[in-house]
Every structure is written in structure tokens, then in C-alpha cells.
């Protein structure tokens, strides 16, 4: 499991997760994810394209960071999850609490809208 920083500017943080967000995967990235995405207080685009598996531990990591950002006035947009990962996220009710977008320009618009 890898967490890559794609871009960080004054407006937002853009990171990409890749691999399996399972027990070992979450252990490998959760501290960095919270530090890089959560602690800056800026909105974030999380590229999910390369995430092949995700269970509730991974969802907990995303929810926790999204809550931290919400408290600081920011938001998380999940970009381009694979169909079965998207199905799991929707089953867990994520669409109601954070945006999930497969078009990058729209993801960026969502981040920039207040």
C-alpha cells in the first residue's frame, strides 16, 4: 500500500492511494495519511484509482480524516474509485458524507467551491 503526494498548494492537497487498503495497508499509510491530508486543514482530493481493495478499516481512516478537515472548514473528494470499491463505499453510505467523483475537473471544482 502506498500513499503518494501529487500536489500541495494553498488551496488543496492532492494525494493518491494505491494497493490494498486492508489491515496491513491501513497500518502502512494511516499515520502519513492523517499527517499529510488531515493535519493541514486544507481540502483534499484523494485519488482512489489504484485502490484494489478496501474494507471498514480503510473507510474508518477516510472518515476520520474527513471529519478533521470538516472541523477546519475543508472537505475530502474521493476521485475515481474502481467499480467494486465504489460499490463498497456507497454501501457504507459514503456518498452522503463526502463527494465521490470520476471526472477530475469536476473533483477540482468541488474542492474549490465553498
Amino acid at each position: 500500500m502506498e500513499l503518494k503526494m501529487i500536489q500541495a498548494n494553498d488551496e488543496y492537497t492532492h494525494v493518491a492511494l494505491s494497493g490494498r487498503l486492508d489491515i496491513d495497508g491501513v497500518r502502512a499509510v494511516e499515520l502519513d495519511f492523517a499527517a499529510i491530508v488531515g493535519n493541514k486543514g486544507k481540502s483534499a482530493i484523494v485519488d482512489m484509482t489504484e485502490v484494489s481493495f478496501m474494507a471498514s478499516l480503510g473507510m474508518r481512516m477516510l472518515l476520520s480524516t474527513a471529519k478533521t478537515l470538516r472541523a477546519a472548514g475543508g472537505k475530502v473528494v474521493l476521485y475515481n474509485p474502481q467499480p467494486v470499491v465504489l460499490e463498497a463505499l456507497e454501501t457504507a453510505g459514503f456518498s452522503a458524507v463526502m463527494s465521490i467523483e470520476s471526472d477530475f475537473a469536476k473533483a477540482l471544482e468541488l474542492i474549490q467551491s465553498k
Binding site: D22, A55, L57, M59, A88, T91, A92, G93, A96, V97
Partner: protein, 136 residues
Amino acid sequence: MSSEKWIFTAECSLDSVAQGAAELQRYAGEIDLSSRKMFQLDLIYEELLTNVVKYSYPDPAGHTITVTLEKQGEDCIFEVIHDGMDFNPWNVESPDLDLPLEERSEGGLGIHLVKQFSKSLDYSRENGMSIVKVVF
């Protein structure tokens, strides 16, 4: 192609559960599961085993959990057998998914996901052993 039942015994620890996941994926590759079934299997395995490790024993040291997987036609039958608490996970209420982000619980999603990704669920207690069964 293998058609026998896969049986794995995990120590009651998250490390051992993670190790078992890798072996399960190897076996699932041999029995030719679709990518969606592979995802379901991974999810059901991780959620149920994590649940047993975290909540079924006051002291998990020295206990083991047996996991079996059998393919019958299009269905997969997955069982978790342990000697921990007599607790039916299917009685756990699903979290309220309509709450706003600020009020959403970060936990409790695992069993909800398993329920939604399965065809049928069963729980029994026999001779001091809990048997948690999922068909998907």
C-alpha cells in the same frame, strides 16, 4: 483447478489474520473466482476475522480461529469457527448511514458491509464453539 475445501487456522491476532488473507487470495486464484467474488471474499474474511480478534476474547492469547471456504456451484460458503464468546454478529444493528459527517460513527461498518455483500448469513453455537457462516 482445485475444488477441495480450503481450511486455515489463524492465531487470534491481527498479524495472523493478515497472513491468512494472503493465503486465501492464493487459494481464491486457484478456484477461479470472478473479481467481484474475490472482493466479496476479501471483505468478508477481513471483517469477520477482525471482529473475532477484537471482540470475542477477553484475552486472545493462545486461542485459534478456523476459517473454511468451499465453492459450491456459483456460491461460496465461508465459515469462521472459534471458541470465544457466544455472540451472534448478525444481531448487531447497522450504523445510521443518514447522519451528517460530524455525527457519523467511524466504527460498526464492517458487519453492515458483510451483510450487504452476502446472500445468506447464519450463526450457531455447538459444543462451546461459535460457527459464523456466510454464503455469497
